[in-house]
Assembly symmetry: C2
Homo-oligomer: 310 residues x 2
């Protein structure tokens, strides 16, 4: 993805690192104030209070907590601390996990999502990120699981609307289809949005439901540029960054820092922002390597790589 | 994917193991003579001569050698042995790996693919499977790599046609996009086929180029049923089976035996054969677990699971 060889280019036969570097220089660096910290990035080192204070210390203007960290501190107290430090809450991670083997399990998931919406409202989150869930244990019925996801989101959408919390479906990489999320492409996520919140003829999407675009999950998708056009910009609720390492040694916990992998992050940001996205760039790195690092180093590196490699 | 909840079903809210079992009973088991052995399944235990003899011993009627095994024995000698034992060669694994950092590397890949075509012709393979290759080292130019794939296949297609060897593009799971194959969905593979071997207006695809559909790589794809319709049947050159384990502990070498994972293989076979596919079901399991098993046990298990779980 680049000016010379990206979608729509007439000729993209050339390539290689030299070309790449030249093209990356041609894309303006991101605004530093757009960086946001997803708490998963330093989850093994810090609690939420430490993360909030560290963001302020490092000049990071956004934060996106996971619910385990939020629960430790309490949503009301977290909201106060976040406000005191002047941070934008770019999302709450995460709702979802709708499929279950029986009706009681599906009802419990819906109740849990209602609570997540309430917490997202309390902390003023820009969206509630939905990791929709995989195939229930003992089942091989993937279309059935996908229908449970649609039904589950449908059951909480009115509450989300009433609470002023947009729901951001995060399509997860297909390698998580079985056990974490059976929504696996941006197009598929947008199909769900369109089914539950149709775009009026000649009008625009309401923004009550949309997508969280995570570079790690979508970078490989040959349909990505068109799908981003389709999302523009009302359904683009969040943008997450990290990198795909070669080799990747663990399916879940081996994400890379921006610049250490193969994703052309500047080109992807250009595609996302080219569709009118003006939100933050949320760095979310689940990595046993980075969890062993001193967390202030992680934040400093993320700031520097955000500017130089994304 | 099932009669009750598969694509095109009116209501797929129900699910779970009970439904699943009921539906699987409704799909007739596969013809046992359709089973084929991909040599990767027992590559650590046997050489090609042992595999050929074992197929005959176990009543497995097809074989699909990898080139390392073929090279050890020599293509001419392998062809004789395979003929003597009355086996169908369902494919040769593999050509491809077209992208390279420089023109010399791309030319070398093209030359290697010409040799693979010659070997495939010698052993009477039904197709040459193409694992197309990933992003060249040092590059982040994914669209550029994808163009190199198209250019590479274009450069060998005439030789393949003249040799009577259909080229089967195998879309690989998106987790292999960076380092093994940047063609990652069936639709994307079919787009390449259509670009290089257009379907005449009102006519049918020539069959000179098509796809190898491997359950492991495509099972997650929400667009799969439509893409299979698109391929029907001239472009459907091979069908590979194994299973997706939960959890999967290695990106490359943790594939499951049919029935041990979450893929609804009977439903997938029904989709593939519903489009007119009449070829073999090639079992290809790259697994450090199965490579530690006694190879006759592996073949016996594969035969039994083919009938019962695929």
């Amino acid at each position: 993805m680049s000016a010379a060889s990206g979608p729509g280019a007439a000729d993209s036969r050339t390539g290689g690192a030299a070309d790449q570097a030249a093209v990356q220089r041609a894309i303006a660096p991101p605004a530093p104030e757009r960086l946001s910290l997803n708490t998963a990035t330093v989850r093994e080192q810090w609690n939420l209070r430490q993360m909030i204070e560290a963001c302020a210390r490092h000049g990071i203007r956004g934060i996106s907590p996971w619910r385990d960290k939020l629960d430790e501190l309490g949503a009301a107290q977290a909201a106060r601390l976040i406000r005191q430090h002047g941070l934008t809450v770019t999302g709450l991670c995460r709702g979802g996990m709708f499929p279950a083997a029986d009706a009681a399990g599906r009802r419990a998931a819906i109740d849990d999502n209602r609570r997540a919406i309430d917490d997202a409202a309390t902390i003023g989150a820009r969206c509630l990120v939905l990791v929709v869930g995989g195939i229930p244990a003992g089942s091989k019925d993937l279309p059935g699981a996908r229908q449970m996801v649609i039904d589950g989101i449908a059951a909480v959408l009115d509450h989300a609307r009433a609470s002023g919390v947009p729901l951001a479906i995060e399509p997860l990489h297909p390698m998580y289809c079985a056990d974490r999320a059976c929504v696996n492409t941006l197009d598929q996520a947008l199909d769900v949005c369109d089914a539950l919140d149709p775009i009026p003829a000649g009008g625009r999407a309401s923004g009550a439901i949309g997508v969280a675009v995570d570079a790690y999950h979508v970078w490989w998708d040959p349909k990505l540029p068109r799908a981003l056009e389709r999302a523009r910009p009302e359904r683009l609720l969040a943008y997450h960054i990290c990198d795909w390492l070669v080799p990747t040694t663990d399916l879940l916990l081996d994400r890379g820092m921006m610049g250490d992998g193969v994703i052309d992050l500047p080109a992807l940001r250009q595609l996302v922002e080219g569709q009118g996205y003006r939100g933050c760039h949320e760095v979310e790195i689940l990595s046993t390597r980075w969890w062993q690092r001193e967390p202030d180093d992680v934040l400093q590196t993320a700031r520097e790589r955000h500017l130089r490699c994304s």
